[in-house]
């Protein structure tokens, strides 16, 4: 049982978390934050292992991992 919270205002749509999540839990969304970025969001929470890789790879410290 794990999940991640994405600080949408901090997200810059770089997609690194999406690339590195081996579980494919993350996607770039279609909502825009106030800086104009389509921030990413967790897609299938169920798969998330809480491994923390996404947070590690996020250059903007936009991801909190809960487990």
């Amino acid at each position: 049982m794990a999940k991640v919270l994405i600080n949408k205002e901090r997200c810059k749509e770089c997609g690194l978390c999406v690339t590195f999540c081996t579980k494919g839990c993350l996607v770039i969304g279609d909502e825009m934050n106030s800086s104009g970025y389509f921030f990413c969001r967790q897609d299938n929470e169920e798969e998330c292992t809480g491994c923390g890789v996404c947070a590690d790879m996020c250059p903007d410290t936009a991801i909190e991992v809960y487990k």
Partner: protein, 182 residues
């Protein structure tokens, strides 16, 4: 007679290109012209903007505090600069990205259109800037449409000149927008 315009948006949106085209067009008309782009840290995170001043007399300052016209192609740009346009000035906004709720100024002539979608309809979202340019030309008459074509030839590198017809088509779309009124 002085015309000035401030254009802002994201790096990939061809902001500097349309500024250059306007400047070259004015030059082709024999006017004095300056083009001043953003540079350095201003560009970090992919911001881009430029100011074009066209005049019958030598241009004093290429920097304009309160431009007569403004084109904002991104949310960020809109948020940052909206306040600067001259009262009663022309504010062209990329409605595809800037939500209508953000547009609160009542003292300007607002032209918000979904340039991205319109461009996508034409087969290439990259044409959004050209549509905006057409709208600007139509609304202000700062330069003639024919000059724009001349300016485009000067502003584009050899190998990009092939895009001129398509660009002019997009500009046509922009002109249409203003012929149709708001």
């Amino acid at each position: 007679m002085i015309n000035d315009v401030f254009i802002a948006g994201d790096g990939g949106q061809g902001i500097l290109l349309i500024g250059n085209i306007i400047a070259e067009a004015a030059l082709a008309e024999g006017r004095e012209v300056t083009f001043l782009p953003s540079y350095g840290v201003e560009m970090r995170g992919g911001n881009a903007n430029c100011t074009v001043v066209m005049s019958d007399l030598p241009v004093g300052s290429p920097a304009v505090t309160t431009p007569q016209a403004m084109i904002t192609m991104s949310t960020k740009a809109f948020r940052l600069y909206e306040g600067k346009v001259l009262p009663d000035g022309l504010l062209i906004v990329n409605g595809s990205l800037v939500p209508a709720s953000m547009m609160t100024r009542k003292d300007v002539i607002l032209e918000a259109h979904p340039f991205n979608e319109m461009a996508a309809e034409m087969g290439n979202t990259r044409l959004a800037n050209m549509i905006a340019l057409g709208l600007y030309v139509g609304r202000t008459g700062a330069v003639k449409v024919e000059s724009i074509e001349e300016g485009m030839a000067a502003a584009l590198s050899e190998r990009n000149r092939k895009f001129i017809p398509k660009n002019m088509e997009a500009i046509g779309k922009g002109l249409e927008l203003c012929n149709n009124g708001k």
